[in-house]
Symmetry: C2
Subunit: 341 residues, 2 copies
Amino acid sequence: MLIVDCHGHYTTAPAPHQDFRNAQLAHFEDPSLPAPLPAVISDDEIRESIENNQLRLQKERGADVTLFSPRASAMAHHLGDGEVSKTWSRACNDLIKRVVDLYPENFIGACQLPQSPGVPVSESIDELERCVNELGFVGCNLNPDPSGGHWTSPPLTDRAWYPFFEKMVELDVPAMIHVSGTCNRNFHATGAHYINADTTAFMQFVQGDLFRDLPSLRFVIPHGGGAVPYHWGRYRGLADMLKQPPLSEHVMNNVFFDTCVYHQPGIDLLFEVISIDNILFGSEMVGAVRGIDPLTGHYFDDTKRYVDSLELSEEDRIKVYSGNIRRVYPRLDTILKTQGR
Amino acid sequence: MLIVDCHGHYTTAPAPHQDFRNAQLAHFEDPSLPAPLPAVISDDEIRESIENNQLRLQKERGADVTLFSPRASAMAHHLGDGEVSKTWSRACNDLIKRVVDLYPENFIGACQLPQSPGVPVSESIDELERCVNELGFVGCNLNPDPSGGHWTSPPLTDRAWYPFFEKMVELDVPAMIHVSGTCNRNFHATGAHYINADTTAFMQFVQGDLFRDLPSLRFVIPHGGGAVPYHWGRYRGLADMLKQPPLSEHVMNNVFFDTCVYHQPGIDLLFEVISIDNILFGSEMVGAVRGIDPLTGHYFDDTKRYVDSLELSEEDRIKVYSGNIRRVYPRLDTILKTQGR
């Protein structure tokens, strides 16, 4: 059975890549400093960073392909400005492309967007088109809060986002809703901001009518949908109070959750309350939580173990491990078919 | 068996109370308008508002006592200023006191605090002391984000909060972490802001060392602990990555979750992953979700039904329904004992 992980980040990029970022931000703060160029990184450096990490874990844990995007916490759309974000995003996406070219059977690309607080998201369309049409990427990560924890953008259901969404529909690529690091010290990035953003986005979709306007727009909400499955009764009840259709019609034709929930009881709940057609296997590795669970002796983020422990029919197992993601990301399906998979 | 609901709000206060609030805010915006006085509300008006709602539901659902506080979404600390918040909080708390005096066997008071963005939380100490020492209240609702969705205050682990926390310790009263309505349109109040605040506060406690400094400080995180139990593996793993002690030692001697989770699978998860000593029965009624679940034919917020469906020992059932809350709120225990319960 083909196993596709819908949520992997290049958290282990070679150090010169971050050095470039640091120099870029230093130049932004002090334009008298030299304007740096993206790091020159050899294929061997990339191989080492991947083979010892994501590729090793892919093999150890038994996944075949990872939908791979730049490190989310390093997108940091709140730093610099729109131009800085464009340059940084291009460098990050180009590096993903090189990983995909080195390991085309193991990684398929999803892009970072050059969002920036106060800059219209339509400014991100060019990079989306470049990544999809020129680099062969199949999706993108969309940040609902480029301010990094101040939430100064309009909600995702606001028409300000529509030009970008219309381009997603035209290209037939979904977005993973994914915030980045935060400059608001109330929010720990991976422990609060990520989960809050997932929950917030879902509730925006419940309140709004985005999918009535754009019925083929698709989002993946990572980290198991934030708080949503645990509070599924609350969300069903709120949809009812807001006089919206049932969630299954109103939201769940367009929204999908990954399995980045780092313990068995959470995965059990996810599969109990969410339709099997809306769940995509994901691990967020090498990611937010890197340690070994003392209760199980296994890595927290080895989410395949939790999914394998479920009593699923063969049909449902195929859906979670590859069928759903092939349906949600048609361009990924095309790549896999080209490879005879 | 005595059944105590730790989470009830006076969401059904007579209309003149809200009229006063509206006039108060109008006067704040335009000081040429008359400065209103708190509404004159008769005992009969209070009886009607309670007997048709909270008291009726208490009896129908089989609870005995509710820890009762002002309507959370109406605290609206982000409106007006510190003085407006003080006057409004006094009026809200005085109304709770009247409910308690009319139904001393059914309601015990917890207070709203006169927080205001930019105003030190130490300014809330006087009202806490008044409510505890003069009105006989046993706890308070603490808003970690008085800005109403902009999160401009320091995290709860910052020393700016310590004077208030030290007073809580001195009075031996816990706080429920509870935000109010929001002026940030990204966040639906009960669907996103409430749940996000619960998650955020918990992660702040994981990151910080608040309970090392104040080992007898106690918080209730409502709405089943936000996203935390669903992502319990994530939080255990993050504590480990942050080189903090295990959550059971680092946070869970001081933090308690209520049962405001509006479906059976969520309650099942809560009791599976969280120690029975940290769970307090609560319903948030009459609250965030008022409808009937079409899947069960029962009210979403009739959380007692979910708890009753669990296979708990008699000892554990007593803990959840009264033992834990008597331990966490010693002044509530004293009142119940005075009543021979």
